[in-house]
Symmetry: C2
Subunit: 452 residues, 2 copies
């Protein structure tokens, strides 16, 4: 029997990180080099490596008997806890009525884009999840290229908004920013808000990395600066290392009563509610406690340590420019100065650069620029620095916090050896490229192919 699939579904692409992951799973067993029992250095997949905080695990244990459907918006005690969490950490007063819980911020952002009429403004580079959603929903959209500092300029935003004639304009702001690790500070947000107020721009502020901000005092939520026009999304995935739990939330703008009513219909129509035991577990994740506070502090300190190491290592390589992360566990590395050498090796797209790096002897997985909504020929790539044993590193850090520069260096080298080796592999690749030694680059005969 033949099945007919909707054209708009045919047209979208699998999010690049999942495509890559599928490839890596296949590649793992496929490297034919006789010396090669090794998988790869993983700079591609953006997942916090730490254990799920103990209070969340314990709360889940206590609530395994909760088989009944939860209310569409989320259980009241969870929305209450999220409200208090926002007050404590982000200094925002949010009535629990303004909070809706969903199975991850990804689906909540999808649902918001489903219900909000209008043109989307997507700053680039961007997290690889937004564009497939926008395309699938057939929304009008415009890119907004970030400047050298990794941030969009309020001036450019205004210029673009003036060109758009849609009744509603929706800016997707991702702060802290994936893939650059850059943080918009208070004055950045105030300037953007000024333009948004003037031009009537609605903001979806994806703040999933908020809690990973290295100097946490610097993080400011857009929900605080522009409360009447911002949908803030956040959740357990990054700060609580519980991406697999699938729990996120959205804070609706003040007074957005009708939108909340419409949103509830969509949730009820599409998925009823988030898993009840998971919601009860999440309550513990948003309660204020010194244990969780320590967890946030330790994990963000480790991200910073390894992030600074990665940044320093890459920036020391002649020709590489990397963004300096102030949050998250990513940075964006720019290899464009190698364009000529890459071209000589028939590497003329970022996709081909990713492929060349993954094969023997480099075995290094990165996310190429075209997945980050950059030009196909832009040789920038996201480096996620999380390929280490999070549980072990967490306890090592807790037991002996490195203080001096050399202690920090030693900590990273002992605790994240694959990150260090992977960075050396990138360096070797670039050296080989310069010396034109890597004729191996052409050995990947078949382009990356997807199987289900």
């Amino acid at each position: 029997m033949k099945f007919v699939v909707d054209q708009q579904v045919e047209d979208i692409e699998l999010p690049e990180n999942l495509k890559l992951n599928t490839f890596l799973q296949e590649f793992h067993s496929d490297c034919h080099d006789p010396q090669c029992g090794f998988g790869f250095y993983g700079f591609a997949f953006g997942q916090s490596p730490f254990p799920v905080p103990r209070p969340i695990q314990e709360a889940l244990v206590k609530n395994v008997n909760k088989g009944a459907y939860a209310p569409v918006q989320g259980i009241p005690e969870l929305r209450e806890a999220i409200s208090k969490y926002n007050k404590f950490y982000f200094g925002i007063d949010v009535d629990p009525q303004r909070i809706y819980v969903g199975p991850g911020t990804k689906e909540l952002i999808f649902n918001l884009l489903e219900i909000l009429h209008g043109t989307v403004i997507l700053p680039t580079p961007a997290w690889l999840g937004y564009l497939p959603q926008i395309r699938f929903l057939k929304k009008n959209y415009h890119m907004l290229l970030s400047g050298e500092n990794g941030k969009i300029s309020p001036h450019d935003l205004k210029k673009l908004a003036l060109r758009l004639h849609d009744r509603q304009k929706i800016l997707i702001l991702n702060n802290p920013h994936n893939p650059t690790g850059v943080l918009y500070d208070k004055s950045d947000l105030e300037e953007i808000t000024e333009v948004c107020r003037e031009q009537g721009i609605t903001v979806i502020s994806d703040e999933i990395y908020a809690q990973t901000t290295y100097d946490f005092s610097k993080f400011v939520s857009m929900g605080k600066i522009y409360p009447e026009g911002t949908f803030v999304t956040n959740g357990l995935s990054k700060s609580h290392a519980a991406g697999g739990y699938r729990l996120g939330y959205v804070i609706f703008p003040q007074h957005a009563l009708d939108v909340r009513r419409q949103f509830k219909k969509i949730l009820a129509t599409e998925y009823t509610a988030v898993s009840t035991p998971i919601q009860h577990a999440a309550v513990a994740g948003f309660e204020i406690s010194s244990e969780l506070n320590d967890y946030f502090e330790i994990t963000r300190n480790i991200h910073q340590l390894i992030g600074e190491y990665t940044f320093n290592f890459l920036n020391k390589i002649d020709g590489v420019v990397a963004t300096k992360p102030e949050a998250t566990f990513y940075l964006l590395a720019d290899f464009n100065s190698f364009a000529n050498e890459l071209e000589k090796n028939k590497i003329n797209t970022s996709q081909k650069l990713s492929e060349a790096l993954i094969i023997h002897p480099y075995h290094t997985a990165i996310v190429g620029g075209d997945s980050l909504v950059l030009e196909r020929t832009d040789f920038r790539a996201r480096i996620a620095f999380v390929d280490y044993d999070g549980e072990k590193v967490y306890y090592n850090y807790k037991n002996q916090k490195p203080k001096t520069f050399s202690e920090k260096l030693e900590f990273v080298e002992c605790n994240a050896p694959k990150v260090v080796s992977g960075l050396k592999m990138i360096e070797k690749f670039l050296n080989d490229l310069k010396r034109n030694l890597n004729s191996d680059l052409q050995t990947l005969e078949n382009p990356i192919k997807l199987t289900i």
Copy 2:
């Protein structure tokens, strides 16, 4: 700030059961009668009242530390377990590659309707969840009225299919059937399949109530009869009393490779994957064990006991005709012979009948016909017979299984007193109606209004 909501979102309605539930929550505290501290007799919400099976709870306890993202299709061990479960209970050989896991069958059906091009054929009466999805996705659809036996006729299906000129036609078959409790047997399915093969009709077979079939030997999966053209959906919600866990699965038709590839893109774009701890817990729910087998048997026996009581009670009321459930925990009760009396009391829609029954002194919640995709003036209503303490009743039944007719009667009266009292309330309402005693009916001054 004003937000503009997409018109198609504005146009859909909240699924009726959730609307009703919201109303009941409000009503609960709103009945102004001084004698009234009572809530309501709940025939409206379709949720299994039993405890989540012990093996599932224990497996969840063991997997609370699983914070990592799961693969989009579902973890391999779960798809393996579901495959074996289908072999054991439904006699179908399903390669785990054909199985995709989702956060409830509701979302999986939504995703299938998203990717499958074509016109939907929706048999009526129908579960209240399909129509809002179809409308929201702006799909073409046609109703197909079921016959007096509660089933669609293959002849009518063929006639309708011949009128449709779409390249693809999608029949949503719900077997066993919500709201009637009716079961399509093997020969019914074979006749429907013959038409589907001839007319090239794709089937989404929602078999979420399969395991509740009172005489389980009678249940046959459409995936067995029409394997090349059927998407079978099932999950934990009804058979395992774990609707709140949010875990369902779809079995793709044989050889539907391209559709599976497209489906994976949609899942990855919309929600990444189902909660990892929940997936690990579900493995235990689909493993073959005498404990789970006993659980299925006991719970389906209790549904049958209370279902037969409810059926007998309603059918004894002069003028009421109820469907005889062979599965599920529902039946459809027909009050159309009271149309004149209802009319005299200004009750001229099924919605108004639901409202009249909910107010003092009746306090009885049913789901009216318009929520079941029937005409607004059709006075049939779904009666869910699950308003009892499932944990207590489960153990009472296990300890002493009623055998004779009088033991069964006594069991229901002792164990499901609210079901019994609620049925008596329906009888009283109808008697009052006949004797024109219920001038109270007009006291619900404000129509049901939704707040968020």
